[in-house]
Amino acid sequence: MIVGEQKPLAEIKQMLAGFHKVLLVGCGTCVTVCMAGGEKEVGILASALRMSTRLDGNAIECDEVTVQRQCEWEYIDPLGSRLANYDVVLSLACGIGVQTLVQRFPNVWVVPGLNTTFLGMPPEQGVWEERCQACGDCILDKTGGICPIARCSKQLLNGPCGGSQKGVCEVNPQTPCAWQLIYDRMSAMGRLEQLLEIQPPKNWSAARHGGPRRIIRDDLRLPEDYRTA
């Protein structure tokens, strides 16, 4: 999932300064399950904003709505008729949701309520960890299903480095050494000899280094006359 966390209330209030009517738009997908921008968090933030701005003496009106997925036209299109009633939209989606709103409703001022943080999962309740950097050229088959791009601080393809101490990364003691995890798993799976293969430098052109990425599937695309966006 895409993992995000809410910006501090003070920063959100700063972005909303000078506006009177705010629509908080939550997203029912990734940021709902990482408890950052779903219906519940929208309700709590709206309540906090109403009370806080009232105490400041410049109360703002906050309405709430949560769509199933803020990054697809069909889910945000129904918002269109409502948006004219507001001075600003505070999106609690990831950065993709914010930009989808902006692209669909170019005359509406949209500000982000979250910091989009990483692609990850919760290893336990209340904890989220990064697992993927969307590098565009997956090598999990070579590393026992543990990604050194996302989980090794140095993104080594042939690890571990000398900073791996007792299974812990020298950059952050909270981070398990990804290459220790890889070694342990390959060992347990009887595939250690696979690690003897030296990995050449990665082709990063499939990652962000090649600029913004795009996938076009002609088998799925509608004929030109039918395209809506």
């Binding site: 519940k40 309700g43 709590i44 309540s47």
Partner: protein, 66 residues
Amino acid sequence: MTDWQPQIIAFCCRHCAYAAADLAGGLRLTYPPTVKIVEVPCTGRVDMSHILRSFEDGADGVLVAG
């Protein structure tokens, strides 16, 4: 100001606190009319949003009893 009494929203669990309040009623015990009881199936149902909304709508205090 001496007559002022706080408005309290009391979220009470159906199985204990609410049942106790019910029993107290049966015994003709009284409590201030400024306490407003909201029966919940379990106090585990009470969420931050309920507490915030109570304060937002004018409560001076929130009691979670269960």
